[in-house]
């Protein structure tokens, strides 16, 4: 058998093995067998109580409100997070940046992807809520179909995490876990990192005749700080806005002196 034929046979064998034994197992890792996806018509058609409000729309974090997630007074960081915090403070004092990951095209991630000064379009279905930020078209899917979080041993870590939502009276409650442990910041400008232990609970209320959203965040991350951080923020409906493709591109970024300055401290 010549080399190329052997290669082809090997490849076919690999594919057959995957089809026979691998594919169903891989899919089954994330949801129990038989679970329907959130866009499956049969899942959408299931009988559920009527949602108290419809979040569908284009939303922008309220202008004039702090878009960063500053820690509460008296906050206590873990020694590891304190190192980043101190290094960031020292860099700012010298007029430099400390690990400006967002500027280098790393995703902002939750929770700060919600408060960039870019609109977020949200689409609510009976099974799920899709949230798409215009900035880098970063997306969250909030699962509302009754499923539980994926086993933490097999969840794929992400910047926006895995969000599971449910209704409590007139409040939408979203529980998010499953985060990456690098290049992800709770307060990027203050150098406060998020870890893979980050847990976010959002309590969302519709206000002002459906023109304003209020989200009360409870942030815990025992690898980065002690206790709960509670922060409440607001969004205003933007009926005259749509979103466009916004990609953070390497060649574009090379022309951003604030990003590629030698003053962006990477290693410490």
């Amino acid at each position: 058998m010549n080399k190329s034929r052997a290669g082809r046979v090997g490849m076919v064998g690999l594919v057959l093995t995957f089809v026979a034994f691998g594919a169903s197992d891989l899919l089954a890792q994330f949801q129990p067998a038989g679970t329907l996806g959130v866009l499956a018509p049969a899942n959408i058609a299931k009988s559920r109580p009527k949602a108290p409000f419809d979040i569908t729309g284009t939303w922008l974090h309220t202008q004039g409100e702090n878009e960063r997630f500053d820690p509460p007074a008296g906050f206590k960081l873990t020694p590891e997070a304190q190192k980043h915090y101190d290094a960031s403070a020292a860099a700012v004092k010298e007029g430099k940046l400390y690990r400006n990951d967002i500027g280098l095209c790393w995703p902002a991630g939750m929770p700060i992807m919600m408060t960039r000064v870019w609109p977020i379009q949200m689409i609510q279905l009976p099974t799920s809520i899709f949230m798409i930020s215009e900035l880098m078209n970063s997306m969250r899917i909030v699962y509302m179909d009754g499923r539980q979080h994926v086993d933490p041993d097999i969840v794929v870590p992400s910047f926006n995490g895995e969000s599971i939502g449910h209704w409590e009276a007139d409040t939408l409650v979203i529980d998010t876990t499953g985060f990456v442990d690098q290049h992800h910041w709770i307060q990027d400008r203050a150098g406060i990192p998020a870890s893979d232990a980050l847990h976010i609970v959002e309590r969302i209320k519709m206000q002002n005749q459906s023109k304003r959203l209020e989200i009360e965040f409870t942030l815990t991350d025992p690898k980065s700080w002690v206790g709960d951080w509670k922060i409440t923020k607001h969004w205003d409906r933007q009926d005259e806005r749509d979103i466009a493709e916004v990609e953070c591109l390497p060649d574009l970024n090379e022309h951003m002196p604030t990003v590629h300055s030698s003053d962006n401290i990477r290693e410490k």
Binding site: Q63, E67, A91, V92, G95, K96, L97, N100, I102, G103, R116, V117, W118, L135, M136, D188, R189, A244, E245, V246, E247, C248, L249, L252, H255, M256, P257, T258, V259, S261, S262, D263, N264
Partner: protein
């Protein structure tokens, strides 16, 4: 070098625009300084999440250097009177910018006097020097 004449309300608008244009993080930019230069447009890139200008400037040593100027996304520039064709390769312009602290040529764009004589900002100035439209950030 010609200076651009700026009125009080325009200066106020400019300073607010730049301070709000906090961008990713603009810690490397000296927000207390505004520089004015004349140069030749090498590139005007009309893009999300940031437009940018490359302008060739002859520095005080007589050497040509390229100034990279970060700008707002097109959705804001349109409201301030810009089109993708407003500037092109070879146009002679006078611009103002907030420069980099470390002396690298470049910084945050503030205004430019374009060939048709208009001075363009990044955001539409409002009457009485009120705060400009909120700025996009990355």
């Amino acid at each position: 070098m010609k200076a651009i004449r700026l009125t009080g309300p325009v200066i106020l608008t400019l300073s607010l625009a730049v301070s709000l244009f906090a961008h990713h993080s603009a810690a490397g930019v000296d927000q207390t300084k505004t520089v004015t230069h004349e140069g030749i447009v090498k590139k005007f890139n009309w893009a999300n999440p940031h437009s940018y200008l490359e302008i060739e400037v002859i520095n005080e040593k007589g050497v040509a250097e390229i100034w990279n100027l970060e700008m707002m996304p097109p959705s804001y520039l349109v409201k301030a009177g810009w089109k993708s064709s407003t500037l092109k390769y070879g146009d002679k312009v006078t611009f103002t910018a907030r420069p980099m602290r470390n002396g690298d040529p470049g910084g945050l764009f503030v205004s430019v006097k374009v060939p048709d004589g208009r001075t363009l900002l990044q955001t539409a100035p409002r009457g009485g020097g009120a705060a400009p439209a909120p700025q996009y950030q990355q």
